[in-house]
Symmetry: C2
Subunit: 285 residues, 2 copies
């Protein structure tokens, strides 16, 4: 997905939301907003939005000397999600199709976001039972999963990782590698966050090499690249990974919630829709 005009107002909102978290000094807020507006005004390129968002998060980190502004929020989300974990497991256990319920759990976990989304409310219980996947390639997912031995699962946000764990634990005896960002960016899970969420009890955790809220294949580690091309199956969580991997040269199962107009329109769905789509090379654009 390449940057769209609508991304600029969104970047500015993200800037303000992050600044609010870090300082109450309105002069500092104004100065940084103007610096970032100036840089965005100069930006020339067609990168995916997660890459361009580094103008926002990089400038803030540099000027305020805070490398992980969402650390507290991430801890809180992990804690909240871990509290829900037994209930999620129970729901999966009782479901007529436990794997399908686990897929829905993983997608619902994607609602945890401090980037695009303003606020979020986790859907569990009845809401989760009724949750509708607007696009669902579940039948193919199930089929491919049965045959797969080694699976690369590209994680997204802290907190959400607990929900991913529920899905991974439902996938049977597989070798699952769970990839996270290499540096803190927004509330995306790093190694530390992922381990706090207990994902290492269900998968081997690696860093993808990414320092953006998504996955830039060209800039990822050799280990990640090798896994990406050679795993039997790749599962990608969240909008940021979709925005950066939608035209990657292999089949990928994207589990996401469409969080903004730009991505929703591209996918032909409403904002807020939840999807399981087989994409990558095979995704109709």
């Amino acid at each position: 997905v390449r940057i769209h005009p609508e991304c600029y107002p969104c970047f500015l909102r993200q800037t303000y939301n992050t600044l609010k978290l870090l300082t109450q000094d309105e002069e500092v807020q104004e100065k940084l907003l103007k610096e970032i507006m100036g840089k965005l005004a100069q930006y020339k390129g067609e990168d995916p939005p997660p890459k361009v968002s580094l103008i926002v998060y990089g400038t803030i980190a540099q000027r305020l000397g805070v490398t992980d502004p969402y650390r507290e929020k991430k801890l809180e989300c992990n804690r909240m999600a871990l509290e829900l974990y037994p209930r999620l497991k129970e729901m999966v256990r009782r479901a007529p199709d436990p794997l399908f319920m686990a897929v829905k759990v993983a997608i619902v976990g994607n609602i945890i976001d401090f980037g695009v989304g303003r606020t979020f409310k986790l859907e569990t219980g009845e809401a989760l039972e009724k949750l509708d996947l607007v696009v669902s390639h579940y039948a193919r997912f199930r089929q491919d999963l049965e045959r797969a031995r080694r699976i690369l699962y590209i994680g997204d946000n802290a907190g959400e990782v607990v929900f991913d764990r529920v899905l991974i634990e439902e996938m049977g005896e597989k070798e699952v590698i769970f990839a996270v960002r290499s540096v803190p960016i927004i509330n995306d899970a790093t190694l530390e966050d992922a381990k706090e969420a207990g994902i290492d009890q269900a998968a081997r955790v690696i860093e993808s090499g990414s320092w953006v809220p998504g996955t830039l294949l060209g800039e990822s580690t050799p280990e990640f690249k090798d896994l990406f091309f050679n795993a039997d199956m790749v599962i990608s969580k969240g909008q940021g990974n979709f925005e950066t991997l939608d035209d990657a040269p292999r089949a990928i199962y994207f589990l996401l919630r469409a969080k903004c107009d730009v991505v929703a329109q591209l996918l032909g769905v409403e904002v807020g829709s939840t999807l399981l789509i087989k994409g990558g090379l095979t995704l109709a654009r």
Copy 2:
């Protein structure tokens, strides 16, 4: 009200919303968004937001050669509101305190806005009966109104003017002067829009001299200034007029809905709250 850091993301959203209305060409949208970001990044000053918003609306008008981008929307709002008019009159007639109901009608009309607000839903019927004024200086308003002979009523948006008419018709035998913007800005009512709404059947309509979505006293016409200082009572509609007149040197009745965090926080209310406040010189800051 002086500009606040949070205004910048809002200006960018307003830019995009207005551009979307005028062109589907994403290159043009991107170019103008960047030009406006560049200008906002350079802005140095402490003006009220409605004045700074000229960077947005002025640049768009200049580059796209469209002086009244909201013309269609304004017509539509006037039409919608005129259709509601008989029902509003009936509600006022039946109310235990018709003047108070007319005040609520006028405030509800302030929900019509294409600037700050994204979308709006007019509240009529039951919702209007139940509408709560979070701050209400109605008792004083009623008292001052009884004694007043000449009243300056500063209008806000097209469509909303029909709701103002309902209130003015309930104010009894007064000399009411209804002031509108001198040039089109967002969906604010101009002479043309106000007359389409039929306000000239209830008041004398004048231009304030304003070309911003608010009222800059220093830049208004001599006629307006004279009325402003010498009328027995001044009624100001909407947030834009509040942002520009809140520290004006005379008592003013502000009827508004707090449409953004900045103004809501200043007033100590929630976003969306409806208020009738006696302000101006007398407003505690």
